[in-house]
Amino acid sequence: MTSTAPSPTVPDRVDEPLGTVVLDGVSKWFGDQLAVDSLDLRVEPGEFLSLLGPSGCGKTTTLRMLAGFEHPDEGGIRISGNSVLGLPPYRRDVNTVFQAFALFPHLSVAENVGYGLVQKRVAKSEIRDRVVEALDLVQMRRFADRKPTMLSGGQQQRVALARAIINRPSVLLLDEPLGALDRQLREEMQVELKLLQSRLGMTFVFVTHDQEEALSMSDRVAVMREGRLEQLADAHTVYGEPASAYVAGFIGRQNFFEGTADAVGALVTAHGTVRGREAVPTGTTAKAAIRPEDVTVEAAASGPSGGEENAVHGRLAGVSHLGDTLQYLVELGDGFTLLCRRPRPGAPALEPGDAVRASWHASSVLLFHT
């Protein structure tokens, strides 16, 4: 095994607190496909960090390299200050909650949870106590002696969680653990997971393609694209100040307008002039992004008036109910549809087919150079 030898640039041991995860220029190839591209990432102890991105962005590969199921072709990985290069999964101080739970079908719930302790040759009486403790933590004590196949998805999820935390790893890795659950259960588990994490003070690295999930639970979100880190910031920043048009489009919905800047720095697009907070250098092309909830829609009193900024006229194509908000689809012509979301109280009563005017404030416009 050549990978056991530490490369000269990565010291074997660095003074970092327990639970710190550091990826140092990590790359991973699958054949001629670059899955992870010189990724630098530092997860602080006790932090809840989400790796967010579409499938194939390298987030699961990154997690598997932390777990030890894949080994990086370049770069170094340190967990709690120790290089884990070449270290097999069973010698790493991390545990994983798997996507499909991966509970052992031949063992009972209690035996599943106790599996990690059996491997560490912990005394049987202590195993029993700690299994009960872990099952209590996820409220699964009642099901201790059942087989996992007799449990519902949510219950299996809790068992998988208990099994992964019983070894008290300094880092817990979660590979889309809520993906198999239905929406309501998923939202409940999001809250429970977050509470559990703050109670245990464990570092959580959470992989998901669901931006809502990432935003609701994480201290910081790492948005990945094609094996690279697109933005690493807290949920508020990722949502409010996306670093790129890609992040803006991936986190929540966006209305994008592309155009060329005029003499005063406003963007001239096919559907009107869009002005943002700052001026775009004259003559350059840029992309403007406006969130649906920042767009107001009203019945159009008159037709489009020339020279109006940050407003468009169109025909209402449809209204849909999203629960606490109403979503309006405004057709602007050329097949371009503008999304607008208003909170239910005070949402304008409009019928499909109505002529409408949609407008927004310059402060809500995000500009990205193209």
């Binding site: 777990a67 069973y90 499909a100 991966a102 052992f104 209690a110 990690g116």
Partner: protein, 320 residues
């Protein structure tokens, strides 16, 4: 907004009954009737022949030209069957059966493991085909092939002598060792295939979860992979052991006088001696021996695995 208290509508009306089953489908048969082909198959090709053999075994050979008669029923054929020759052959058969099954298991285990879990997915079809290729040739032809190889003047003998590994011609043919080589060769695919399927069903995430929880390769093999593959291992052993015990072609071709098996005794009673009654009694004894051996083997495995199972067992109970 006026609030209004509504009484909940009863969810179940007692008078409602599930719609009649007969109206649901276009045609309707009682379910046991649908299993008729399977029952008929079992009855005609298994119960009836075994019953007939059992019936014959209580009869006798009426004369030089008769094969069986049942007008006087007795256990005499069984007494006759349990001769010293039978015991010797029985010992031999059991030895070949158990050794052959174990050798097949030892060879097939790593092969099937590698095929199912390590070999590239794109090569699997080819590997399975390679396991099956010998089956395209006739059983007898394949066995005679070994006769050629193992003969004292065969190429293996010459090769070994040429390499200086032995000074004398190979004296394996017409011994128990030759029979053992033959049966392992002939029955190996029957062990590899069920083991392959069994290992294939042990999903990768389960083995990864095991390693993630601190189990090394060996612990993962013994605590996850083998327990989950257990049904396939049992099936493989039965698929090899049972036909092997009754096999007489391999023993006839490779065993000669020193490598006799019960199957040959049975066959000779039916074909050469024309004593169907005695042959039937021997066949019944063979079946009983196979059942007994399997039961004893199961018991041994069960008893041997108790300490391990007990050590792993963890019962929490419902209490507070």
């Amino acid at each position: 907004m006026t609030s209004q208290i509504t009484t909940p509508r009863p969810r179940q009306d007692a008078s409602r009954t599930p719609p009649s089953r007969k109206r649901q489908g276009k045609w309707w048969l009682p379910k046991p009737l649908l299993a008729l082909p399977a029952w008929a198959w079992l009855l005609i090709f298994f119960v009836a022949p075994v019953g007939q053999v059992l019936w014959f075994s209580f009869g006798y050979k009426p004369g030089i030209f008769g094969t069986h008669a049942n007008d006087v029923l007795s256990f005499d054929r069984y007494a006759e069957a349990l001769s010293p020759t039978f015991f010797l052959t029985f010992q031999n058969t059991l030895w070949v059966g158990i050794a052959g099954t174990l050798i097949c298991l030892i060879i097939a285990f790593p092969v099937a493991y590698w095929m199912a879990l390590k070999a590239p997915l794109s090569r699997r079809g080819l590997l399975i085909a390679l396991v099956m290729v010998p089956y395209w040739a006739n059983f007898l032809v394949r066995t005679i092939g070994w006769q050629v190889i193992l003969a004292p003047e065969g190429w293996l003998s010459h090769l070994l002598q040429g390499l200086g590994l032995t000074n004398e011609p190979l004296e394996i043919l017409y011994t128990r060792t030759a029979v053992l080589i033959g049966v392992v060769y002939n029955y190996l695919p029957l062990m590899i295939l069920p083991l392959f399927v069994a290992f294939d069903r042990v999903e990768l995430p389960l083995r990864e979860a095991s390693k993630d929880l601190g189990a090394n390769r060996w612990s993962t093999l013994t605590q996850v992979t083998i327990p989950l593959a257990k049904p396939g291992i049992i099936v493989g052993c039965l698929l090899v052991f049972i036909p092997l015990m009754g096999d007489y072609i391999t023993a006839t071709v490779l065993g000669g006088a020193r490598g006799n098996m019960i199957g040959q005794l049975v066959a000779s009673q039916f074909q050469t001696a024309q004593n169907w009654a005695l042959g039937s009694a021997m066949a019944v004894l063979l079946m009983l021996i196979i059942l007994l051996t399997v039961a004893v083997a199961a018991l041994i495995v069960w008893v041997a695995s108790r300490p391990f199972a007990w050590r792993r067992r963890l019962v929490i109970g419902e209490d507070s």
